[in-house]
Amino acid sequence: MYRYDEFDERFVRERVQQFRTQVERRLDGSLSDDEFKPLRLKNGLYLQLHAYMLRIAVPYGTLNGKQLRQLALIGERYDKGYGHFTTRQNLQFNWPQLKDVPDILDLLADVEMHCIQTSGNCIRNVTADQFAGIAKDEVEDPRPTAELLRQWSSLHPEFAWLPRKFKIAVTGAEHDRAAIKVHDIGLKVRRHPDTGATGYQVVVGGGLGRTPMIGKVIRDFLPKDELLAYLEAVMRVYNAEGRRDNKYKARVKILVHEIGTEEFVRRVEAEYAQLDGPTVNAPESEVARIARYFAPPAYEALPEDSAVLDAARRADPALDAFVAQNGFAHRQPGYLALTISLKPVGGVPGDMTSEQMRAFADIAERYSFDELRVTHAQNLVLPHVRKDDVPRVFEALKAAGLATANSGLVTDIIACPGMDYCALATARSIPIAQEIAKSFADERRQAEIGPLQIKISGCINACGHHHVGHIGILGLEKSGKENYQITLGGDATEAAALGERLGPGIDAEAVPGAIETIVGTYLKVRTDGEAFIDTVRRAGLDPFKASFDAYVAGEPA
């Protein structure tokens, strides 16, 4: 894991002190609310429906046990004993008080964390594949790149007041688990087909929200050492030409769409040609210094198979199901990565209590080289577990209420906070997720249905990624009531696609039945072994529309 150097430490401490005095000046009236608001937002502090909300950056979703314990402490001391992991791999507290926030920021700084640039029109927390450094299909660990981008973008003076927020995601693998095509910039580490050199495919202009777009490739291969200068050129074009007259048209996706990919590339390349690359790009020694922090842990030399785990799986069907569903093949023989679902049936997607954080910190410290990851699907990962240890880990997870075996299944639902917390929401999200999960609670039935991603947003800003859900649900207000639109066929991977509307919006009470209807149609239409998203792609929307229309009309299935 990356460790702060003296500069990082000083920068974060100074920022805490600045914010402390800003709060003091707000409270004594020296700063008006209009003056204070952008300052608090730049430190991740929102005013939401019921209270303030503090968004804490988890750079590229990587944490250690000490950090998670500190989050547990903050949750207990300054909040209501729980936190919420988000689709941006961050953590949010829903109930902090303004007067306590400077102290909270100090506690975060103690464990090399902060809230800087988790809001506002700047480059936000850089996200990455949760299986970085683990996946067998990986060209290179994306975290050194993400950390380099964190350092480059933190308080970058030129990009502190962009037309709108800006999100960057990085993957180093063939299979995209970081949703890079729906970010402002998506980076994929790849090898040059001829030379074998390492570089990046650069995707720009993806995004969700009210105008969803799939990103466009603007460079198929960018040499690795040119990254910062090239991104600086992209940012300069966006900063100069992004729409500042209309916040709904201010994201880079709109600029790329309006002028066309070809013209956008021309402008970026023209800007890039004028840049003095060597003064912008990170020195090789700095890139190497960062990369060393992400060197693989001290694995034991183990055989690929574990007789201990195999025997335990035969003896315990629950363990067997857990490993089958939540296990992820590790590149290191004898090890396994485990997804830890924060989606117990009937629970709040992404929520974790302080007690669970402490229990999980214990597990990560003892069994996973003191490392854990946050996924954009609002789950956690134990990245490096010895297969021999998996039965013990499973018992510890069970004791903490963290052993739900549903990773990637119909009950592993992404849901934004929605109107239960969010000031922007037009409808609730979490209760919809809870009711759907209850409807599909039977584990055997979930397994029979197979991989199916449901994603729910409580407004068009799409924090719940509904556009790229295999089934997407968007909560809106209609005639003073909550109303939900269903989309089908979205995909956040390398085969990125935006879902299409199935039909008219429906009431909250009707949503679980609608999902049952869609799943029922899938089970009838699918061929042997065909996953939900593949059936939708092959069969198209028509069979689903027909059954959905019949359901809405109240006809028997």
Binding site: R26, H50, G480
Partner: protein, 114 residues
């Protein structure tokens, strides 16, 4: 947008009766204007049944915001139920009067039984 739900957001006067809501600057809690200050309990909110009273309450809210006691004060249309409780007519504001629907153990619903 959610702000459309706020009374008077479209430039017209809100539908009466109304109460006045804001957030406390220091803590962030949802508060309501009373006859003599601010309350956390929505049942104790001062109710305006006419436009003049609503205007006076709005002015009090603006003064409290200027004095750095609260932020973002605005009028909330309500209906007075059988118990006399001024229940917000819009579901967003009703949620602010109770707390998260998914956590009956948290928020005003846990602290004040209505």
């Amino acid at each position: 947008m959610a702000t459309d739900a706020k009374a008077g957001a479209k430039g017209k006067g809100p539908k009466l009766p109304v109460i006045l809501s804001a957030n406390r600057l220091l803590e962030g809690d949802v508060v309501y204007l009373t006859a003599g200050g601010w309350t956390l309990d929505p049942a104790s909110a001062r109710i305006a049944s006419d436009a003049e009273t609503a205007a006076v309450m709005e002015a009090e809210g603006a003064a409290a915001a200027a004095a750095n006691l609260v932020v973002d004060p605005y009028l909330v249309p309500v209906e007075i139920d059988a118990t006399g409780f001024p229940r917000a007519t819009h579901f967003r504001e009703a949620m602010r009067q109770t707390g998260p629907s998914i956590h009956p153990d948290i928020g005003k619903q846990a602290e004040y039984a209505h």
